[in-house]
């Protein structure tokens, strides 16, 4: 599975929606469960799955699914 789909799957699981509803421009606040708690759950799940820690400067920029995919890809390719 490519990284983009894996990230989408993790986000979908974290906020308890179908993966088909997750697009690259799906953003914070689009689903009731994607609130501040949801955001923390997603970030922790991504950090755990891909085994790295986001830089605090980067965390603030994670506003939508596309941002998250990009940030993970950067780390994985390092």
């Amino acid at each position: 599975m490519d990284i983009a789909n894996k990230v989408k799957g993790i986000i979908a699981d974290s906020i308890e929606v179908e993966i088909t509803k997750i697009e690259e421009d799906t953003a914070i606040g689009d689903f009731p469960k994607w609130d501040s708690m949801g955001q923390i759950i997603i970030i922790s799940a991504l950090e755990k799955e891909f085994d790295f820690k986001f830089d605090p400067e980067v965390i603030m920029d994670l506003e939508d699914v596309g941002d998250m995919i990009e940030a993970v890809e950067e780390h994985v390719s390092e």
């Binding site: 914070i28 501040s36 708690m37 949801g38 955001q39 923390i40 965390i59």
Partner: protein, 483 residues
């Protein structure tokens, strides 16, 4: 203090400073004059289209938008009662509240119970009319709001607040915090609870400006708003502060010079965390309250001036009396532990349907919290009589979760308690203790079931098998013994 309703206060600002900005929602700014025109237009619409009258009850989805604010005050001007409910309210809870309150109208929420309803857009599209220069304002003892809180039995309990209660709360809070008409406050708290809803009333009744923000989840947007609107006041629960720190480190301190006040409340915050805020915001009044829906903001502390008492919940708020009583209602000596009891004009007149058993000792409201007062008047919170769990400021009764576990499998015996959040964000989270039997050998199915039935903050984060649930002789669960 003489009674002046919030509606009259806001009316006065609409006359004396009509062009001052009262509310900002996204790109739209509303002046005090426009605010009252909108309130008045909404009032006329609700009367003519829906025949709303004095004494009626209206459920309003607590959606943080301008139209909510217009509807809220319009309903009060009619003499009707507002029942603000979380938009994400569960079907079962909504059904219960509709049954209990028999609303004439629901704004902003769909329902299947034959109650007339419409969406907020209808208010947005109303044509503005001028308001008369003489208005009949709500009276002191008239019922204004019914707020639903977590009852100890698992069913929500309706707390009745009069216009006198609301005016007294706003006055007490503003006196302590020191809000002025020059303040611009960012409101990111939910307004289905007393804390967030109270902030709107506090700011508007001092002639200040309130900026509505959906939530703090999008940190970049939040900081942008701080900058663009030159925010001078901010309210948050300890879990929001945890989130802000996790997401952005100390960045909030960039705005420290401009921040006159921060109000905190709704959950525990450790003295160490308070020290962090003191250092980051050396010139900001950092005010933390302790309060309940029934007795909003009963105590206050200011971190800088009360730096030697950071382990307390502060002193009684202005115009509020607090004492510690034993189970017979006798006042106890300083230092002795008993039930924290509150008296003041802000205290509820009681619950819906007179469910007031054990709620009061004469004029004192019984908080159900255990604590003591020291000789300097600082109050120390020790625990709870009522076994309510506080997840990041959202409260729930363990009975609600236990009854759902029972619904999953009637054979299962369970007890839930609040335990320290292992991630350190929410303060407390739910843990379920379940008696092991032959029908079930893992928690997964239970957890899936609970996820589908409960708000996510109510779902246990931890489970443990036990041999038996500790109980009193009369069969009452002793949850404290599981801790």
């Amino acid at each position: 203090m003489n009674f002046v309703s919030l509606e009259e206060n806001i009316f006065n600002f609409s006359i004396h400073s009509p062009n001052k900005i009262a509310l900002i929602d996204k790109k739209k700014a509303v002046s005090y004059k426009e605010l009252y025109q909108s309130i008045w237009s909404t009032k006329l619409f609700l009367e003519s289209e829906y025949g709303l009258q004095k004494g009626d009850a209206v459920i309003v989805a607590a959606n943080k938008n301008l139209n909510f604010v217009f509807a809220y005050f319009a309903i009060h001007l009619i003499g009707a009662k507002v029942i603000p409910l979380d938009e994400q309210i569960q079907e079962e809870r909504l059904a219960y509240i509709i049954k209990k309150t028999k609303p004439k109208l629901i704004i902003g929420l769909d329902n299947n119970y034959n109650v007339k309803s419409f969406d907020f857009d209808v208010i947005r599209d109303l044509e503005l009319v001028d308001f008369p220069n003489k208005i009949e304002f709500p009276k002191d003892f008239q019922e204004a709001d019914i707020l639903f809180t977590t009852g100890t039995t698992g069913n929500p309990k309706g707390v009745i607040l009069t216009h006198g209660n609301l005016a007294a709360s706003a006055h007490n809070i503003n006196t302590f915090i020191g809000n002025t008409a020059n303040d611009v406050e960012l409101l990111a708290l939910p307004i289905s609870h007393s804390f967030g809803l109270g902030r709107i009333k506090c700011v508007l009744s001092t002639g200040g400006t309130i900026v509505l923000l959906g939530s703090i989840v999008n940190m970049k947007r939040m900081f942008r708003t701080f900058e663009e609107q030159a925010i001078t006041g901010f309210g948050m629960v300890p879990a929001s502060w945890q989130y802000i720190q996790k997401m952005s480190g100390d960045r909030l301190k960039d705005f420290a010079d401009n921040l006159n006040y921060i109000e905190l409340g709704s959950a525990y915050m450790s003295p160490e965390e308070k020290q962090v805020l003191i250092k980051l915001f050396p010139n900001t009044r950092i005010c933390m309250h302790y309060g309940l829906t029934e007795a909003s903001r009963s105590t206050f502390m200011e971190f800088h001036s009360d730096i030697n008492y950071l382990n307390s919940i502060g002193k009684a708020s202005p115009n509020v009396e607090i004492c510690i009583k034993d189970d017979l209602g006798n006042i106890m000596k300083p230092g002795d532990e008993g039930e924290i009891c509150v008296k003041g004009k802000h205290v509820t007149i009681g619950y819906l349907a007179n469910e007031n058993e054990d709620a009061f000792f004469d004029e004192y409201f019984r908080t159900g919290d255990i604590g003591s007062i020291d000789t300097d008047g600082f109050i120390h919170l020790k625990g709870r009589l009522k076994e309510i769990i506080n997840v990041g400021g959202k409260k729930l009764s363990p009975i609600e979760v236990e009854s759902k576990i029972h619904e999953f499998d009637a054979e299962l015996e369970a007890a839930c308690v609040g335990v320290k959040d292992p991630d350190g964000i929410l303060g407390e989270v739910v843990k379920a203790f379940i008696v092991k039997n032959n029908s079930i050998n893992n928690f997964e199915a239970i957890n899936d079931f609970l996820k589908s039935k409960l708000d996510s903050y109510k779902v246990p984060v931890d489970y443990e098998w036990v041999i038996e649930i500790p109980k009193t002789k009369s069969g009452k669960i002793q949850r404290q013994k599981l801790l």
